[in-house]
Amino acid sequence: MKRVFYAPAIALALVLAAPAPEGRAADGGPAPAVASILSGAFRSAAERIAPCVVAIDVDRISDLPSPLREDLPKELEELKDYYERPTGPVSGVIVSEDGSILTSHYNVAGEIRSIRVTTGDGRSHEARILAKDEWDDLALLKIEATGLPVAAWADPVDLRVGRFVVAVGRSPDRARPTVNSGIVSALHRKDGRLLQTDAAFNYGNSGGALVDLDGRLMGIIAFVGHTWPDWGMNGGVGLAVRVDAIREVLPVLRRGESIPFPPMPFMGIEQDVTAIDVVGAKVLRVVPGTAAERAGIRAGDVVIAIDGEPVSDWDAMVALVWRRKPGQEIDVKVRRDKDEIPLRLTLGRRERPR
């Protein structure tokens, strides 16, 4: 009896005697240990990708109009600093040994005089634009070089919310990279093309690399502020083009083919957001001169089906319409008072979004 009692006693002794864990970040280890583990991980990820990150200096004749200029409320006028393109280099990522460089479309938007790329070894190269994908905010540049280090791709399967990310760009001192860390905040923004992160970036990070702790490219940093350039304020909401979206368009861009803006369908109705407890999509207002007006939709109508598919709410309707093309004719059934009215609508084309 006494003999067999020893086993669990030994077990308990081992548990109690085990030293307080040192160097384990997952539970309550001392701060220097946690910090040193994370520092090491961020630094090694940055070191792996930094040679593949270039600084890009763009000499511009004219720029895109600031997207916020018309909308800028009077109170924010004096802060126009925050909405104008800052000066200084932006970033790009080397995707082929012979000098194909991915960057953001915004970086090379407007009328350009010349583009200079500074690689990690400090050498300066003249670059030209090979092709653009404006919807994804990507552009492919080309410099003449050989033997350049190429970024490794992350596996899309490894993209998970909560994973650490490291953003690497080029600082005002072009020879040295800048590094910011954060986590993946969301994975499916903009129809699955963008991932979101809370790593704090700057204007200079635009077009740069977002990597995991293995230094593999999870995304190209495309929208630096909260989805549109709000220079001077990154509040921990930043977007990057996902690795799978990049790999899908890269072969086309490499051929020198720019990818046109996808045609986006447009109806011309505004949502009544106060209508809860309504089955269907309740229309607040019909925009004059649009497809919806021509089809006979009126304010107050509730859209209950598109091409025979029932519509439970506004978001469901947007999802259905999104899959269709401008010019396509669709059947729209609306409920008006007690009647169900079938209408025929020819989808318009959306103006390009900001």
Partner: protein, 333 residues
């Protein structure tokens, strides 16, 4: 007999579970021990001092005790030259009177003495030379006056995001006066945290926090500690000589932006030297004293070498016309 065995086994299982559960529940990852170690050495600061335009103003910010005697390291944006009525708010709920020892505006450095520091801890100065981009780093301070109002030292966690030389010196917004190599971090730096320490995981001071934000690099920066260690030692050992008119005390009263064409005036401080000389926002500074001005850093360097009262002859380009402007540099005396 068997029942007793089962009871003992059950009791042991419960004991083991309890220990494991207690371990898991109390130990969550983070930097709690570092915060507990550093916070008692941090103070909130208020004082009254003359502003560049001559009027007096109230100042607030953060400081850190750097030795057992209670010398407090802070910045000139918190305790400017000629400050009076200096108060230190400690994390344990006391208010200590203080006196200014010396300032070096060219490095935003201000050293003061707290009375009655007692046995409170202090932070040793570390080294900034060994810092690496990507390294986890910490900030402490009086963010939005958290120490003065709540007795709370605000904590910030981030990494070193860059080590470089400032390209756009904002000379009067937040009154930052340092231009040179900086440590940039994404750890929270907010109004009130200037003068506070940038701290590594071993609780050593590696930088002096500054509010030198710019529109292209909008993260916080710190003056590297290696650049101020010598000066701090000189002040402590009584070797620091502060004359009423010191090089490095000169001010222009304007912010300078970097543009492709050259340095351009950003904002003008009302009543300041630039305003009095008739300069306007948007003016491009072509040359100073006949020598071409290449950018904001160039101008900042020349200011650190100038003295309040010096007269600068500027060639200015405005609306396509070039003309001469004479500026009498102001400054904190």
């Amino acid at each position: 007999m068997k029942r007793l065995w089962r009871l003992r086994a059950a009791a042991l299982a419960v004991a083991v579970l309890a220990v494991a559960a207690a371990r898991a529940a109390t130990s969550r990852p983070g930097y709690a021990d570092l915060y507990a170690r550093v916070a008692p050495a941090i103070v909130g600061i208020t004082c009254v001092a003359p502003a560049p335009t001559g009027r007096e103003g109230g100042y607030f910010g953060t400081g850190a005790a750097i030795d057992a005697d209670g010398r407090i390291l802070t910045s000139t944006t918190v305790i400017p030259p000629k400050a009076r009525d200096i108060k230190f708010f400690t994390s344990d709920g006391h208010v200590l009177p203080g006196k200014l020892l010396a300032t070096d505006p060219s490095h935003e450095l201000s050293l003061a003495q707290a009375e009655g520091w007692g046995a409170r801890p202090f932070l040793p100065l570390g080294e900034s030379a060994g810092l690496r981009v990507g390294q986890v780093i910490f900030t402490f301070g009086d963010a939005f006056r958290s120490i003065e109002t709540d007795g709370h030292v605000t904590f910030g966690v981030g990494i070193i995001s860059g080590i470089y030389t400032l390209s756009s010196a904002r000379l009067t917004e937040y009154q930052a006066t340092y231009a040179g190599p900086v440590i940039e971090t994404d750890a929270g730096i907010n109004p009130g945290m200037d003068g506070g320490p940038l701290v590594d995981a071993e609780a050593r001071i590696v930088g002096l926090l500054s509010l030198n934000f710019s529109s292209s690099r909008w993260l916080g920066t710190a003056v590297p500690v290696d650049r101020i260690k010598g000066r701090i030692a000189a002040i402590r050992e009584g070797r620091w000589v502060e004359a009423p008119r010191l090089p490095g005390s000169a001010e222009l009263g304007a912010t300078i932006d970097e543009t492709k064409e050259g340095p351009v005036i950003g904002t003008i401080e009302e009543g300041g030297p630039a305003a009095r000389a008739g300069l306007r926002a948007g003016d491009r500074i072509v040359s100073i004293g006949g020598e071409p001005a290449s950018g904001p850093i160039d101008i900042a360097r020349r200011l650190t070498g100038a003295t309040a009262g010096d007269r600068w002859v500027l060639q200015v380009l405005r609306d396509g016309r070039t003309f001469e402007v004479i500026v009498e540099l102001g400054g904190r005396l």
